[in-house]
Every structure is written in C-alpha cells, then in structure tokens.
Symmetry: D3
Subunit: 238 residues, 6 copies
C-alpha cells in the first residue's frame, strides 16, 4: 500500500529537533514530525509542589495545548471557554508521566521542571512529537541546572521517545499523519526508553476491536520507530 | 507470593452485579469488585448531540465520578472546586469509548445513552469495574428501548468487560486492590470484547519501565480475567 | 383522602437507617424514607477552617448533592456545569446549620466533622432524610473520636431529626413523596431536636398563601413525625 | 429592654420607599429600613425562559447582591471570585418566590419581570427590605406594561411585604438591625400578603432551639410589622 | 451645533459630588455627571498584596462594575456569568492606574486602599466620572488614616480628574452623554492631574481615523474640562 | 543616550514579517520586532456573531495570548487558571479595534475574520508587533476570500501599523524593548493607518505625569515609526 506522502509503512516522517528555539527558557526545542510542529519549553523552578515539600525529591510536570489555528478549522481557546478539555488533560498527564520515567527524583533535589508543549501546527501525532521533543528540552534544562550545581546528582537516568502506530486498511503503519489517523481502525501511542523498554502503551480500537497478533505487529513497528527517534535525540544532543 | 486477601495471582476478587438498583433509570447496576462499589445508571435520551443530528446515527457517552468519601481520606467535590480534574476526564472518556465498541450506531437510531458511573466506595480498579457494570446497565437500557420499538435494529453487537492487571514485586497480578495498585511497578487496564478481542490497552510503568515479555504476561492474565467477567455478565443478564 | 401508597395523612413512609454502609468513613449511614435513599458519610478532620483557628472550638459542615440519575429525568452534573446551583447551596447550608444545633463546639475541640449527603435515589423529602440520617453518621463519628480521646468533652448535646409536611388538596400530610410534593399548595420542612424544640422551620406557599391555623396544623404533624424519627434514631444507635 | 436606637420591641425602624429612583428601569425603588438601603429595579422582558415557552404563562425572577462596601468590612465581589455564594443564591430564590405569590401568570402573558435587588448599604434585614421594596417596583413595572397593553389581564392579584423578627436576650423583637441580628438566639424572616396570609416563614435557631410559644410570639410580631409595611406600600403607590 | 441638552460644545454636564454617602466606608462619594451616577467607596486595609510585602510601600487598587439595570436594557450580572468581561477589566485597571498617579506609596506605608466604583445609572462617561469621584473618596480615606496616624507621611501628592471628549458630526465635544458617545467618530478619555499634566490619554477612532489637529483640539477641550473638575473637587473637599 | 542594543532613540529594532508560516490558516505571519516574536493567524468564517446576523455586514475580531514561557519567568496558563486576565482582555480588544479600522464591513459581506495573535517570545512591544503582523495576515486572508469570490467588494480600505514609544530617563524612545519598557516613566502605544492618521493613542504615565510637549514629541516619534512599518508591510505584501 502506498501512503499519501510516498512513505513505506514502517517509515517515519522527516523529523527535526531544533534546540534553543526560545531565548528565555532553560531548555527549549521546536520539534517537527512532518507537518506537526510542537514548541517544547522546559522551565526550572527551585521548589516542589506542596505535597512533596521536605521530601528531598524533585518533580517533573507537563502542560500540553494547541494554538487555536494549529488545526484545519479553528478551535476555541480553552482560556476563553474557561476550562480545559478532557483531551488536553489526558495528553498533559501522559507527557508528564512519560518524562518522569527517565528522571531520578532524588538526584534532582527539591526542584521542579515544567515542560510546556504547545502545538503550533498539527498534522497527527502531536502527543508523541511533544514527548520526543520535550525529552531534549528536559535534557538541556538538566544540563543548565548541573552547570549551576543545583542538583545533588545526575537526574537523567534514561531517555524517552514516543511514536504513534495504527492499522489503516488492514495495514500496520508507523507515525500516522492526520488523514491516516482519522482513517485508522486501531490507534496506538507507544512511549519507550532509550534502552528499549515500555513506559506507556495506549492502544484504542477506534472502530473494529483488534486481536493479539495485530497488537504484536503494532508493538514491533513502534519499537523500531522509537529506536530511530532515540538515535536522533542522541545526535541532536551531542 | 500470597496476596493480602489470600487470592492467587490470577484470581479475581468476588464480583457481583446487581441489576435494577435504581427505580428511575432505564438500566442500573451496582457492581462490586471486592471493596470497590460502583453505581452505574443508563439514561436513554431520544436525541443526539448537535454535531450528530440528521445523521441517523446514535451516540453513547459516559460520566465517571467518585463520591467525596468513597476513598480513605475525603477529597473535595469537583462541583465545589468548579472544575473536573484530569483523572476524572480521562476515565469518563475511557468508559465512553469502551462501551461504544459494542454498539451499532445505525441500529440505535438517533438516540443517546448516557452511562453515569458513580463510585460509592473505592478499593482499586474503579474504572474497570465501572466498564464491566456499565455494560450490563447498557444492555438493560437497550432492552428497554427495544421493548418500546425505539431502535431501528439491534444496537448491541458485542459485550465488553474490563480488568486491571499489574506487576507487584515482580509478580503479575490480576485485578489489583488499592494497596496492590499503590505498590505496582506497572499497571495496566485492559478492555476486551466478549469475543476476546481488545478494545483498549493502557499500560503504564509507574516506576520501572517494562519489557515485552512482561507486557505479554499481563495481557495473558487480563484475557483470562475478562473472559471470566464476560461469563458473569452473561449469567446476570440471562 | 387516601394517599397513593395507602398511608394515612399523619403516617411516615417506611424509614430505615443502615449504619456503617461505607468502609472508610468515620460514620456512615444509608437512610431510606420510602423510595428516597441518601448516603450520609461523616469525615473527621483534626483541624478547623482558617477563621476559627486558635479559638479552641470545633466546626460542623455539610455538603448535599444528587446523583444525576437519582431523579426521574437525568440532570446535568454540577461538576460538569462548573458551578453549584442555588438549590444545592441552600440545602447544604440547611443540613449544616441543623446538625450544628446538637453539638457543643467546645467539647469538640479544634476538629471539624464534614457530613456528605449524596442522594442515590430521590422520591421527595431528600433534605429531611439527609438531616435525619446525617445525625446518626455524626453520632458514630463522634463516638469514633471519643474512643480515640480526640475531644475534650462530649460534643453531642442533643439529637436532630427532620421531616417535610405539606397541604395537598386542603389536607395536611406528613412526609410527602415526590408526587405529593409537586401537588402541594404549601410545603414545609421542619427540623427538631430530640427534646421537641425547633431548630428550623421553613414554610413556603407554592401556590396559595396559607393562614395561621394551617401553619399550626402543619407544625403539629411535623412534631409527631420528628418524635417518631427521634425514637428510630435512638433504637438504631443503641 | 431598651433597644440601641430607642425603639420599642414591636417597632419598625423608619422605613422609606422612593419610587422612580432610576431613569431607565420600568419600575425602580430605593427602599430604606433604617440604615439598610436596597435599590430595587424591575425589568420587563417580552419573553419567558425556554422551559416556559408556548405555555401562555409569564414568569417573575429576582437577583440579589450586595455591593462590596455595603457592609462594615469589605467583601470580595462574587464576579471576581467567579461564583455566587450560597447566601446570595438563597436570598435571590426567596425574593423570587415571594413576589411570584402576588402575580397571576396567565394575566401576565408570556412576559418576564426581573427584579434586581442590590444592597447599597447593609444594617440587617436586607432580604426583607428587598422584598418589600421590590413589590413596589414590580407594581410600577406592571402598571407600565398595562399602559402599553402588554398583558392579557391584571397580573397583580395581591401584595407582599416582609420583615425579620428574632429573640434577643429572651425578648422577641421586630425588624432587627445588624447588631441585634448578630446577637439573636433565633432569627425569623416572614413574608406575608397584603391580606395577612403567609408566603414564607423561615425560622432558624442560631444558638438555642426554640419552642412553640416562642414561635407563636414571633409570628404575632411579624404579622403586625407586615401589616404596617403593607399600609406604607399602599400609601406610596397611591 | 446645538447639543440635545442645550449645552455648548465645551460645556460639562451638571456635576455633583456628594461625600459620605455610605455609613461604613472610610471614604465614599456619589458622583453625578448629568444622568450618570457612580457610587465610589474607599476601603482602607492595613496590609498590601503578597508581592509587595516587606517593601514598606502601599498600594491603591480599584474595581469598577455596573448594576444590571444601570443601562437602558438590562445586562446579565458578571457574577452570574461567572466571569468578568473585557470592558470591566479594562476600566478597573484604568481607574487604579489613574489614582496611583496622585499617591506617594512610601508615605502611605504598607496599607492598601481599594476603590469600588459601582455605576448605579449610566448615561455616558462612567469611567471618567468614576475617576473624578474616586479621587474625592480616596482623599477622605487618606484623611481618615492620617487622623489615626496610620501613614508615615502624607500620601496625597496631587489630585486627578478625568473627562471624555469626542468628535460628533465633525465637532469636538466635551463630556459626551450616551447618545453622543454612540454617535462619536472619535472618542477620547483623558485623565489629568490637578497641576494640569497628563496621567492617561486614550483615544480611539470608532469609525474614521483622526489626524493630529483633531487630536490637539480634543486635548485642549479635555484640559479645560479637567481644570473645571479639579476646581470642583477642591471646593467639595474644603 | 546610548540604548543597550546600540540603537538611536528614533530607531526601530530589526523587524521581519514572514508570511505563510502556518499550513492551515487563510493568512498567517510570524512577526519579529527584535526579540519579540508573535504568530498571527487569520481565520475566515462564513458567518457573523448573532447580534450582526442579517445586517449584510462582516466582522473582525482578535484574540491575544502569551505562551507560558514566552517571558523570562514562566506564567500560569489562563486556561489552567480558568479565566482570562485583564491585560489579555485589554490587548485582544485593542487589536480587534485597530484592525477594524482598515476594513469596510459591507464589502466584507456576512463573514468574520478572527485574528489569533500568540506571543511565542516576548521582549517588549508585543501588542504593537501583533497589530503590525496581524494586518498582513488579514490582507492575505482577504486576498484568499477574494480569489474565492466570497466578498461583495474589496474590504481592505487602508492599512494599520503600530509601535510603542516612551520616555526613559527624560529621552523619548521609539520601539521599547522589555528593559526599556520597565524603566519608562511614560509609555505610549500608537496605532496609525497607512495614510498617517491615528486609530488609537494610548498613553500612560507609569510614574511621573507628562506634559503636552512630551506628548507631542512621542507622537512625532510614533508617526515616523509607523510610516516605516507601513513601508515594510507594503514590501512584504507585494
């Protein structure tokens, strides 16, 4: 099956990670997966949420949002509506959990790093692009802290990358763009460490329930995709 | 490894499903997984959300909430705080998606069924109990509609059940209670159809990332658990 | 005049109070007035609101809410609407004031007891059922505290019970069910102590204004009803 | 017992009702009960709330609010806090119900009258002053409508007035000012028609529960007070 | 060109400033510019916002609001809508900035003065009337503080007054009433000190952009108007 | 006086306007004034707000927001706080009014253009950069509409550009960067048409009130700055 943009089923879109995109943030990255563009900013704060004070442990949290015209039709601002939607909440939580998987809270000390992931342009896979880019911003923010001797140890114990996979017309595809995502029978987001283990597996049957062998083929695809993204992250950071 | 309540690793807690728990709802169920008690009410509405009008298709949606003292310490009401938290949003969306997997929208006609899942008492696995119970309430509501000839066809094309699995102290366990859930290194919620296919797979490494074989063992456990729950649903409905 | 359920005008519906309905709360009761079912949970907190700190005095507060499908037609969740309605506010405040009437703040010490009254099923008289049940939950919570020597004295100086009365078709009736409530020309909620004095009297002419003798007959009915409920509370607690 | 301002126990404060205080409203009144000053504005709208459309019946509703510095210490604006408090809700509902008692919905036709009662200065009894003043604004608005032949009949079938009574130091007092209200053991708000019947009776034991004879003496006082206010309303409107 | 109310283009409406309109506030003024009536209350608080604590400096802030029926058609309450509109925000900020221009924060000490400006009746120029009146309430509140020796020095270093000007039918007009404001091509609000300098200049082309000479003529008009208002403020305060 | 970045007092920062920065929007621009970077997206909607329907006239509106880490320290998201701040409201309204000054509503027909101005990086003058950039996005969106024959005429009757000016250390400066803005005694934002007339003049004395000659010198500076920006807009659009 030929994909609209000519990719093979197991091929990522062109992925670029541009560091230091912002002047003020301790770490910042513009990550692009094809037409998807997410601005990831890491902010270092020398304190932790109330429930964690005095523990000696740090914290990582994330907020995800889309600009109103990042998509094909304009969507209302959540600030104007006065509340955050379920999808936004869900993705913010996913990004936070994913990045916490590569951090040693004790080595971080009582500091917080906030990852703001703002989608400037959306073409499918915004949450996985956000995780992949935010990891690089996080690494830069941690380097910034270590230069200033703010951390008792090295908090960065692993890396994380993420990719979407799905079944479109019975074919398992890697890194779905928007039109593929809409057409997918099954959609899965996979977050993996640099050492190839799973951090998150979220698979959803959009239409037709899927069997174990389909699940297996999707996990295989995702594993290869994440390995490629991990290699890119290393290149960009070195 | 012995579990606190003496269960074997692959054993469900005592599960009961009490139909017609409420006088007014078109379908209602009190579902209990051990100490977890969720009240599921299905409401039939003879219209659909604005974006679906004129399509001839129906809709299924769900709302999940916890009573403030369902848990060990009291939590503030979301109505008092004036907003719904991320976790609540996430679970409501999961329940809705799961139940939509067993319904034929066309056979439902332009009607909506709302599933309210209110946790009266929480001891782990509230979202999977909610899905398992809500399915029965949904089936009752559909039967109620069919008796009144409200549907053009039979909307119930499958059944769904759900269970949590996790790794505690390196052992894969089925149907975690609260203390196990807190101790779990990896936590997974699995929603399956009555015919044994996946609707949702949501696995999260709470501490240590997990490898493919761990994932496989958890899916095996979940498959067996869901089959048992499916059998119970059938018994209860017959 | 025969009532729909065959009761005489001065007869309560079957009332049951089930203690310890919840595993976690310090006091918990499922109270039923016929088809009205309210879950009352008492939570002990070892602090008081900011404005009361350092006074040596305790505090009692209450929150009332209805599950969306407790009623004949589903109502939207107040958490989803993002604000609490006037009726909910009004009833929460009534329950709080009523229960404060039976407590000695000094003997309670700087502790707070929160009463959560959640209506699982509504058939008229939910606020009076809530007060009657919450009193028992409160008594259990205070006993729990006294066993742990948390209070400087015995905070429970009285009991409270509540009942609705109203004029339907010119006849004064005790303990209105939903259909009677809707048909009532005048509706009154009366909260009384175990020693027969008034804590709250709230009478409203729904259609036709009422005269003094009507008011007197309603107060008589309510007095007898509250005495009966007081007797039941004592039986249940002993 | 001498009252601070030298009144006898059964004496109202000086009460003034100034009509046409605002240029734009269809009816408007500045009502003063001693130091309590409430601005009541009646707005005529040629439609009814959605749930009443097509019924041929009108509607009366009310909103109550206090200016931030109407009281001794400044209170935050509810608009700034982003939500309406329980007390505000409760009083708005009370005013609306009270005024609905003197209106024939059918004669009003499908029109709504909104009564805005804004407390400019508070010294006790703001809700009863608001009801007493709002009645006059309502009468003016109805006269305005009738001049324009907007109503199928005469909607004003009665009048309403309201007053507070309470027990201070064992003495029943009429029309409590703020310092008396704070000191009251029992506090009651009574709304009556011009023909001397009850519309609302709301009695609350603030400290000590009260017996039937106390209740009777308070109702006697309130009856006389409301009769006096009714006479004033008539004088002012003629 | 004759104005509707017979004024000449450079003439203010009748302006009155009534001090001590409220019993409780430390300073209070009812200011009237023709049919525009604004109640200004100054509240003294012996603390400052969190971000200013420990600085030794005071703070001045303001809140503006309109009663729902101050205008020709009723507008919804911002408290009911649950949020403050852009116009309200903008004017509150303008009033606060304007009054801060005449205060020495150091001489004020760590105290805050809140100016509440509530529009009772609106007929154009509510924000400029509010500033002009609030200055007098502020002066009274500062005098109140100085009598109690709350301030380290004399915080009142200048006075402020404000007026609107605009172009209607090519003619520059002073102090627009509502109908003139609606018809204006250009609308400008000018805040000036008692010594004739500018604090705020806010000019907006409502329809046709304006040139420099138009701007100059408007500033001339405003200068004369503010001088007149300053003289009135002095008279009223002496 | 030398400015930090070596500019002369009447010199703009390097200004760039990049068109078509987004794939989906009908017009989109990344505008940069030195370190200030604003993404402006124009969305065409084939309808108008409710209050304008049936008038045959179009509408232009704008929303302004800052990304949380566009500034030196992170600010909370307004969506998370659940409300829009006063500054955001004020600037959104300013941008909308400014752009409406160059549009003929009748020639636009019953269509709306929404301008979203999101600050990616802030270094002073974000609102004036937003207006200057949004004009170009608007022109592109109108060209897009005209190609599709959506407009009855040519709605673009003029152009608008904006710049900030201020007094720092007694010197009037053009186009303040953040550190200059913070140090300014007087701060003014000026919006002008391409033909050199004023659309908005907003001058604020941050510390010391300013006299007429200061105001004149600031308007001179702004006039020259806007002319330069107008020339750039023309170059970019041709």
């Amino acid at each position: 099956m030929a994909r609209d943009d000519g990719r093979s089923p197991d091929q990522l879109r062109p992925v670029t990670i541009t560091r230091d995109w912002l002047a003020h943030a301790e770490g910042s990255v513009l990550v692009e997966f094809g037409g998807t563009r997410v601005l990831c900013a890491a902010t270092v704060q020398d304190n932790v949420p109330r429930w964690r004070r005095g523990s000696g442990l740090g914290w990582i949290t994330a907020e995800y949002a889309m600009l109103p015209r990042s998509t094909n039709t304009r969507s209302d601002r959540e600030s104007v509506r006065g509340k955050i939607g379920g999808r936004t909440h869900e993705i913010s939580r996913l990004i936070g959990r994913s990045l916490r998987a590569c951090v040693d809270y004790k080595a971080l000390g009582e500091n917080t790093i906030v990852l703001d992931c703002d989608v400037l342009q959306a073409d499918g896979g915004t949450r996985t692009a956000a995780i992949t880019g935010a990891y690089v911003a996080l690494a830069d923010a941690i380097a910034w802290m270590r230069k200033r001797k703010m951390c008792p140890g090295d908090p960065l114990v692993n890396s994380v990358a993420a990719v979407s996979v799905g079944i479109v017309g019975a074919t398992p595809l890697l890194d779905l763009c928007y039109t593929e995502d809409v057409a997918a029978e099954t959609d899965m987001n996979v977050v993996m460490t640099g050492s190839g283990e799973f951090v998150e597996v979220q698979g959803t049957a959009e239409g037709i329930p899927f069997d174990r062998s389909t699940l297996d083929s999707l996990l295989d695809l995702a594993g290869a995709g994440c390995a490629e993204l991990t290699a890119l992250q290393r290149r960009v950071l070195s």
